[in-house]
């Protein structure tokens, strides 16, 4: 067990937990975007920054989702420095993705209303990496990855051709906070009819033999009526 102080609160945590986990465990709210409990932390969005100081050290900003708890650490989650850092981050996020309900809620929570920046694209990908990590860690398929560097960085399939690894589960779309994920670029439309002829053959042969009516019920109409109607009809 490690002992640390978060916002003047003395806290005990298991070894190996991150600051964010310690905060959440103790009901201290820290905004996050790229963090997901089912995934390895990534430290991309910097919304979860907190101030960490220790004896004899100057306080500094760290991303709490990846920063491990240390014995005797002094953590503050609500200083003006932290607030300013988070607000600028939220403003930058909002500039590209104002239509996203999740990001709008985050910005509202941090008190960001005006955006000083403009991006050419609406609903842009913010490179939080959730989709890539979900595909790798939750689905176990790794159909997508982050390619290129700098401003050209983006999420794509290898060589940007539709992936044959993709199983089309849609986890990437579901986890995307901005709605920027283009599913068609990944999975494409793989029209396949592996045995349509066999299906026709088998089904039609079967179709004539198969009676859909439950064999323990003689009259479907009666069954589908409301119970009261049925009672009335019986009387």
């Amino acid at each position: 067990m490690l002992h640390l102080t978060i916002d003047e609160q003395s806290i005990e945590v298991h070894e190996g937990r991150t600051l964010l986990e310690a905060c959440r465990e103790n009901g201290i709210h820290v905004p996050t975007l790229c963090y997901h409990p089912a995934l390895e932390p990534y430290g991309a969005c910097r919304l979860c920054t907190v101030e960490v100081g220790a004896q004899g050290r100057r306080p500094r900003l760290v991303a709490s989702c990846v920063y491990p708890c240390e014995e005797g650490a002094q953590v503050r989650t609500d200083t003006p420095l932290v607030q300013r850092s988070r607000r600028v981050t939220a403003e930058l996020l909002l500039a590209g993705s104002s239509a996203s309900p999740e990001i709008a809620a985050l910005a509202r929570e941090l008190g960001v209303t005006e955006v000083r920046f403009r991006l050419p694209e609406e609903n842009a990908c913010v490179l939080c990496g959730l989709c890539v990590r979900a595909c790798n860690e939750i689905v176990g398929v790794s159909a997508i990855s982050v390619i290129r560097r700098g401003i050209a960085k983006k999420v794509a399939t290898p060589f940007e051709v539709q992936s044959s690894r993709c199983i089309g589960c849609g986890t990437c779309v579901l986890i995307c906070p901005t709605g920027a994920f283009n599913f068609e670029n990944v999975t494409g439309f793989q029209y396949v009819s592996p045995s349509e002829s066999a299906y026709k053959l088998g089904y039609y042969r079967l179709g004539s033999e198969l009676d859909l009516r439950p064999n323990y019920v003689q009259d479907v109409t009666a069954l589908l009526q409301n119970p009261e109607d049925r009672q009335a009809a019986n009387e």
Partner: protein, 687 residues
Amino acid sequence: MSDEKSPRVGVVVCDCGGRIADVLDTDALCRQAGEIPEVAYVVRDAYPCSKDGRERIRRAITEQKLDRVLIAGCAPRLVENLFRRALETVLDPAYVNIADVREQVAYVHADDPAALPKAGGLIEMGVARLVTTNPAPIQIGQVAKVALVIGSGLSALTVALNLADADLHVILLEESSILGGAVAGLPEGTRRLLAEKSEMVLRHPMIDTLFNARLTETSGHPGDYEVHVQQGDQSVVYSVGAIIISNNAQPKAPGSLHWYDRTRVRTQSEFEVELQAAAASGRMSQPKDIVMIFCAEESQLEHCSRICCNTGIRQAVRAKQLNPDANITVFFRDLYLGGIGETYEAELMEARKQGVTFFRYRRDQLPAIKDKTVDVFDTLTGEALRVPFDRVVLTMPLVPPEDTKTLAALLGLPQDEGGFLAEPRMRLRPGRYADPGIYVLGSVHQPADTAEALFQAYLTGARAARFLRQESITLTTPIASVDALLCTGCGNCPQVCPTLTIHMTKRESVLSLASVDAMRCIGCGNCVVVCPVKAISLPGWDNIEIPAQITAALNAHQNGGPKILTLACEWSAFGAADIAGSRHLSYPSNVRILRMNCSARFDPYHILWAFINGADGVLLGACPPGQCHYGVGNLYARERFEKLRTEMSAHGVNPRRLHLEYLTVDDGRKFAETATRFEEEIRQMTS
């Protein structure tokens, strides 16, 4: 249901750090959950998915002696595996269930007073599933350390040698009596390579080569196939772990579209023989006017043969070297000069430099071979050309080997438009992602040049060796099983199985009985639906738990409006509903969504059960045609849906109360719109 005592269910209600708790009163939700008779323990947690949260659930299971756990939280797609993995030491994965109260309630019904009852309803559905479900038995399959290689082309020989060198037994099937197939028309380098490899294969102690042999029957599953090989007039049975299909594509037989006489008009491979003979003698004075027609007769086909442009251009260069006075004209439609790690553009440049003339023709104006000239319409100048010839070389497209269709039928592999074996798509095998024991390579898959064939062979060799070296294969996905006491042997189920997994066997040598090869079952549930006596069960999607969930969904108190049940395939409509949630696209709160594995499992009985239990409308959500993860489950669903609607109208029930919608997994907007429209329609119908 096999448990004597009633199960103790624990319910964990997640606050999601406020995302759920700000919309739903989670304390009230806990109280509602506590009123369900089977629920023994209810707890509220801010973050049950955190490391400590999972630890708390595990502790609660042991302390409270729970044997089922329901977590009311977010989309199962995201956290189901997380919880199942975290709790697997104390609870079977089937006994951990997620009720999606975030994406399906908190995010979409924020200001709706019916949100809380709906969340309670989802918990009731989840509990109903937990108390009726049975865990899927774990299947363990053996792996025979033998590989069957069909064909003896370059890729087949290479992969056979690779596996044999890795100390795996290889059985090589060759249809003819020599290895390598038709080698006459191949370039010299390839022929030398083939000869070397053939020699090595014949000498290798780990390789059994069967000549004049072909595959007549296969059964079994990855790791343990039983193959019947017909050799001469005797049939031998082998047990193999993997089947590698690598027989060669053949050039199409000429003559159906162009004039072909084998002397003045020859095919590319016949010209190769001629060139090699000329090269041996060092000179070629005849023929002088050579016309090459690329993509000859290709217009009848839809695929590119990928190697003939390269070969043709190389031949042109060689002919020019042997006879610098020769006039070589090439008619092409499109040039494909790609190859692994290189392109053949340098050869094209060389040919141009040597004075080979290129004309492009259009598909609808094919070159016509006349008595002394070839007439063509040049698309670049827009002029009709007349080129004299004394040799025409037809580049015949490669077509799949003759027995491809038989092989495809035997092994249940899909064929593409050109008749080649298509790769089994990942999306068709959701449980397992790919049939691991069958490999397709070389030109039976698509025409490949030497480098590509070798590359594929080494790759396949490595993959197959890794597969064959496994001790055993373990499967935990749900699979169908037949109750022998109930089965009447009607023979319905084998006909609808997408993986041809079910076979009829003899019982006491008289009555037939269906049996499922568990290792190949993908768990779509199609057989469960067609079984007239319901002798087949599929853990997790069984005939007990689905009606139980339907009853729970419809019994839960609703907000006055019509009761709508949605059967949602988890690969399409259920995912779309979750995405509608994550985008906060609202739809009526009296729509209850039941997660199904595939639309093939939409059982007419279950739909009728829903109507009997008071559903006003039933919405079915399936994958669009051609995109079903289990083959053609959605087509079966459509047939059953249409039949059931006819049946309903015949009995005086409004067939519009049942609706089928095709949805893709990313289309949350369409789901929200469909649900809203359907609810409106039903509302008008019932009012």
